[in-house]
Amino acid sequence: MTILEVKNLRKYFGDVKAVQDISFTVEAGEVFTIIGPNGAGKTTTLEMIEGLQPPDIGSITIAGLSWGKDESEIKTRIGVQPQSSALFDLLTAEENLDLFASFYPKRKSTAEVLEMINLTEHRNKRVKSLSGGQRQRLAIGLAMINDPQVIFLDEPTTGLDPQARRNIWDIILQLKQLGATIILTTHYMEEAEKLSDRVCIVDQGTVISLDTPAALIGKLTREREVRLSFFDGEDAAARTEQALRDRQEIVRMERDSANLTLWSPEPEQALYGLLGFTKEHGYRVEHVSIREMSLEDVFIAFTGKEWRD
């Protein structure tokens, strides 16, 4: 079932073309991640979907409802954790949850949410004295207090240490298990790869690519990177490089003293030939690896930009 449909969104701010043309659909129960370099139009897109600003043209349908006609109904069905964790700093975690719960016709119990975001122990602490990770978890708790159909998480782990980040991943995976639909933006590739069902890469206000993480990686060139380093030093590396130069399955080679890097669409074949040569000449190989392609490579390949610019 399609829960969110975004069609031909466009938003200009004067000369700035924040969003040019963005369309996608999200199925119920999916974790859908939007990634893109800074200024790509992620936040503007998200804010249009969340009803904070109207698009210049294009349409947004959430569970069959649209912002123009069903604003208050949509607001009861979505939960939002904005980039800045905006909370009542002088209220306790529990008081924040209780207050937000009173805004909605349907609500989860405060105790249940506190348990899910792992703040039961700190429920009587004022937000002011919570750690960054705890505040962020509370913000996620507020986004789920109304038991929403769609949850928007805008960079939920930015600025957190690895442990705090993992805690938030656990919450997201738990939500996913409960069948919630999650729209996520993130700066961390590992996060997108680990959590998402589908990833949408946005750059310069348009969708560049949209697929499962595995399929996106598969779309990249099939050349794989093979690295090896020689125990017997630069001389052995140079001779091996010389000997393998004419091999068809090897597209390109680079050498840096005793380390050799080669690219091949058939890495197994290339390795077979390579190790055959070293064995024949008695060269000892210290280290061999075939690098895994990651979403980061996909990102760089599609946008031409380093991930964190």
Partner: protein, 373 residues
């Protein structure tokens, strides 16, 4: 959830937020109390106003019946505090005056029967208030003594009494008390809306707009909290003014409630206006400080506006604080009833200020919301 429950939750949440903020306690309760106590102590808010004393010395060159009776008469004047029980010689008196051990020395006539009574003061103090007062008192005394000596009953005498629009005279204690109450409430309104800047800066405003809660309820809950704060201010300051400084109140509750209600609304509207165009806490505080500082001294909070220079008076007739202070005094000390044209015109001007500030603020907010990015 229904609007009533939501309003209750929003009211309680904002009430907790306000009273958990230490700065609110300091600036809205502790600071006005300190300021009022200081001013009352400085301006002698004891209420009787009869604390004036002048320290004098007497020089009696010769002893005679006439000079003895002059001395006896002088010693009965209550504001004179005598440096010595016995008259001293003129050298001793001179040195006391020079050393400022006394405010003045009174020298009786040389020949004991008639002639000049001289007053010696330190040249540095020649024109100060104490000298003027001593001179006035002595002048009056000498005149009466002369009439008595000549056996004349004066045809005219001056009787002094003061007139106020209310049933009682108001002393500096009541004046300062009502001034401080009005100032504190006005300040709470002007500065309190800084929350609006803060929730906009932190993104909380945006976050709240994403919920189905109506922002009007949030604003209403906030206003109720501000009324609670102002109520606490008025009660606290009144208790201290009445029990600590003997202020006499002449309450007219309907008048007081109207002035209080309109005043709280008007000054919160001004704060709201400031918040609408302030991008940061600093700029909000800057504007609020200038506004409150400008009004504080020329709106009749600490001294009556009639003591201000003439060119400044038209300004005070425009400022909202002037009318708020007057309205609060109408309700708390003058005891003037509801049928009082000056009160209603003041309330009218205050209402205009509030309505104009609120409309302009709302307009700026609406425009900003359209431009929000």
């Amino acid at each position: 959830m229904n609007a009533g429950t939501q309003l209750k939750k929003l009211f309680i949440a904002q009430l907790k937020t306000m009273f958990r903020e230490k700065a609110v306690w300091f600036w809205n309760l502790f600071f006005p109390v300190i300021l009022m106590v200081l001013f009352m102590v400085i301006f002698g808010g004891g209420g009787d106003g009869g604390d004036f004393k002048a320290k004098v010395a007497l020089v009696k060159p010769t002893s005679s019946t006439a000079s003895d009776s002059l001395e006896a008469g002088l010693r009965k004047i209550p504001v004179f505090e005598w440096k010595s029980e016995q008259a001293v010689d003129s050298d001793q008196a001179d040195s006391w005056v020079k050393g400022k051990d006394v405010d003045a020395a009174i020298v009786l006539p040389e020949n004991g029967n008639g002639g000049d009574i001289r007053l010696i003061v330190n040249a540095e103090n020649e024109s100060n208030a104490t000298t003027q007062a001593i001179r006035g008192i002595l002048d009056r005394y000498v005149q009466e003594a002369s009439f008595a000596a000549a056996g004349i009953e004066p045809a005219y005498r001056l009787q002094t009494s003061s007139v106020s629009s209310g049933s009682k005279d108001i002393s500096s204690a009541e004046f300062l008390l009502t001034g401080m109450i009005s100032l504190s409430i006005a300040q709470a309104g002007l500065f309190g809306m800084v929350d609006m800047v803060e929730i906009r800066r932190s993104g909380l405003l945006k976050r709240l707009r994403m919920t189905p809660m109506r922002m009007g309820l949030y604003g209403l809950g906030g206003m109720m909290v501000r009324f609670v704060l102002s109520f606490v201010q008025i009660v606290l300051l009144t208790v201290i003014g009445v029990f600590g400084f003997g202020a006499n109140l002449n309450l007219n509750l309907p008048v007081l409630i109207i002035a209080f209600f309109i005043g709280v609304l008007a000054f919160n509207a001004l704060g709201y206006l400031i918040s609408s165009f302030s991008k940061s806490l600093e700029s909000y505080m800057g504007v609020a400080n200038i506004t409150s500082f400008l009004m504080m001294f020329i709106s009749g909070v600490f001294f009556a506006t009639s003591t201000l220079p003439d060119w400044l008076k038209p300004v005070t007739r425009v400022l909202p604080l002037t009318y708020f202070v007057e309205g609060m005094r109408d309700g708390m000390v003058y005891g003037s009833g509801l049928f009082n044209a000056a009160f209603w015109s003041g309330i009218g001007i205050l209402t205009l200020w509030g309505a104009a500030a609120f409309s302009l603020g709302a307009l700026i907010y609406r425009k900003a919301k359209v431009e929000v990015r």
